[in-house]
Amino acid sequence: MKRRNFLSIAGAGAVVASSSSLSMSVFAAESATDPIKIGLLFSQSGTMANNESLLKDTALMTIDQINAKGGVLGKKVQGVVVDPASDWPMYAQLGKQLIQQDKVAAMFGCWTSVSRKSVLPVVESQDSLLFYPLHFEGEEQSKNVVYLNSPPSSSVLPAIEYLMGEQGGDAKRFFMLGSDYVWPRTINKMLKGYLKTKNIPDSALREQYVPFGHSNFQTIIREIKEFAAQPGGQAIVVLTVVGDSIPALFKEAINQGVRASEIPILGLDVVDSDLEGLDTKPLVGHLSCWCYFQNVENPLNQKFKADWASYVTTNKLKHRPDMVIDPMVSTYIGLNLWAQAATKAKSTQTAAVREAMAGMEVADPAGYTAKMDPTSQYLWRGDMIGSINAKQGFDILWKSKDIVKPIPFSPYITG
């Protein structure tokens, strides 16, 4: 008896622990007067927790801001938080639950492409809207997904072009290293197609993939060094490794003496939070490309950063108050876009919001005015290359003059 009692208590405890956030929001829903619900599908545990919990809190902050301005259509907006625990099929399951049980007006969520692909059939069959704040491999277009970040043709290729130019150090050979899933593989496929048109021979390319969560980079860093020393000109690393593997790779690179002046690493998924806990002095000069870096100077960005800092401190969140990354800004833009569109459409129905959104402009803390492409449902954003500085952040090395037309389907991917 005793044992069984104990087990059931332990079991109940575990269930409560894993779904506490969910049940809390359900309670809140009953007491509030009919708010508009927004589903937040971001992992708070597992390998993506570091990054996705930032987006969850940004979304909640933006919702607070929208509510402070009187909400949408006279109603309060409410974020319904779930935790898919970095488990891809869970995204679909919880997404369905958000739409069917919680009756959310739209969802914000996902970091990796696998998780988006997992939710995609759900939003399509339920005709809901998923706002996706990450840059990704492109090659997808759904009327049920709002793509808030740039596809690679308009974000990665300009960066590669810069690195191949005279100022960028005349890169001639490319070591493509990624985590083994759809985003890195598609990016590299596109890159290979693009480099072919630039007359880069296959012998100057090397492609390598590591499993998710891989942390032993000894061999790979050694291979990179060897590759860089081989004939054929300047080598660079195009890094599409994600999650905890990024700091592990950088640590090994520092220890084995890889410096940006010899072998620059262009990390396509590297954000400020990946540099936390690293001494970045030996990493200065490695690169990343996004639509936003926090060191951009403009009033809206100042305000956004200040808002975030005060939100983190007043709510005693475990995030760094002084760190803002592109996907957070994208989430922020996305929520404002949704609020603008719902206000304009005077409805939160998917079709009405979608129609209102087409061609809509929204202020971007990156210093541009982002614009929703009416045909592809991708956002026009600016493009920037950041260079890692000694203070665990990025300085802006290059930025596009204006917003860039998103090209969802890359012409360089054949077959």
């Binding site: 597992g46 000894q218 790979i220 010899e262 000069g285």
Partner: protein
Amino acid sequence: MKRPTMLRVLAWLMGPLILFSIFCMSASAQSVSIEHRTVVLSGLCGDGATPGLVLTRLVTHALSNNEKEQVWVRRIITALKEGQLICNDSDQALINDGRSQLNAITLEAVLQKSSNPPYVPSMVIMRKVAITSAEVNLFSSDQSVRREAAEQIDKFYSLLDASVITQILKNEPDSEVRSMLTLALAKRGLKSSDKKDQLAAILAVSQSPSQASRTLLSNLLGDKNLTDPELKLASQTAIRHIDQWLLFANICSILFSGLSYASILLLTALGLSVIFGLMGVINLAHGEFITIGAYSTFIVEQLMKSYAPAYFDAYIFVAIPIAFCVCAIFGMVLEYCVIRFLYRRPLETLLATWAVSLAMIKSIQLLFGSQNVEFINPAFLNGGVQVFAGFVVTYNRVFAIILALLIFTATLLIIRHTRFGLLIRATTQLRDTARSLGVPAERIDRISFGLGAGLAGLAGVVLTQIASVNPSMGTSFVIDAFMVVVLGGAGSLIGTAVSSLALGEINQWIEPLYGSVTAKVAVLIIIVLIIQRRPQGLFTSKTRT
């Protein structure tokens, strides 16, 4: 008699005069140097900036001036490297040292601070900064700084200013630095038109075998203008010589990576080997003990940083006993509260420990947040040493290997040669007999579980130096740990050690050939095959159960 007095009077008269003129001279020298510095830095800021030229001028300035100017040049270059340089709105260069902003020419604090973003060098300029910094560091009086600089020079041999290096070579007292600089010059000499020079250069380059030197020689061989058979032969021999070295270096590197991977596997599996192997408890919360060990290290690190900054680097050693004790206590509490009710009921144990594991992850998340925890590695664990060309050994890995060996030996000694170890073995092998002979089996269970948890905590300490630390870090290690213990044979510590070494080495030998995904698959298949043949694992302890 007369003369000296006159001289003395003269001296009296001249003394102040000389002093005065020296004063004047130094004052004018000061203004001359300011003027010089202004010229040197011109073109750093503003439209149409020419930072490349500024860097060249910096080197010449350091070369032709006194130590004071060299210090200034070094300051400017450090500012460039560390992103401290700012161009203000009137195109003046400022140095932001964190507290105040200095005028880059006079190094005096300026009143009007600029809020402009720091100057970000392009890739080309960054390379140039690296070489400039190395060239300037060659003037340093510190021998180790000069050696490091010479290594840099060797790396960027194609960008260096040959005349500067030749000039430095003349005055360089250290033979190692001299030989590195000569090598760098030799690499350029390969393109020389004089055959004698070329032969000497080929020889010099082959004396320092590396992939880079091989590339250099093969480029030379591929050059259509190279017709001289003697040169061809010399470079072919040199390439063969280098190839042998590279092969050797490669083998050493793979062995070392295998060893280091094995040490991590061993560390994470050792605790499980006690808990699962000896006690037969399937503890899915094992990974969380690793996490707790890592977070204990984090707390020790934070405390040492604030209270004993002088001994900061020693935190890793302080953390070893603390992490062990913290985890051991947690382990014993877990055993007392949960596990002891579940002995011999593996399915319930599995579920309960899994729940505990989830609860622990969430609690750590509540306490510390889900982000990666920031660790400052002790200085002696940063970086690595090149044993010989192509074979780099990093300190954190060496540390892990040594610690794994020590901990393993200690555990083995405890289990084999102490009274406590005897009791553990007696309890696990023939529980009822041991009990009837007066062994306090319950207490032994608790202590062994604590030992296992403590060992996992030690793994956590070492992992802080290698992997990133966050609440869910443990989950990625627990599977590997089970794999190692099952393969090695439950109950055998030697088996655990052998299987982790085997898995580590196999993994690292396959990885460079077929990639890390294949390596992981291959290792799993090997394990399945071995377990099919020997379900009890590689090593089995003889029991009478």
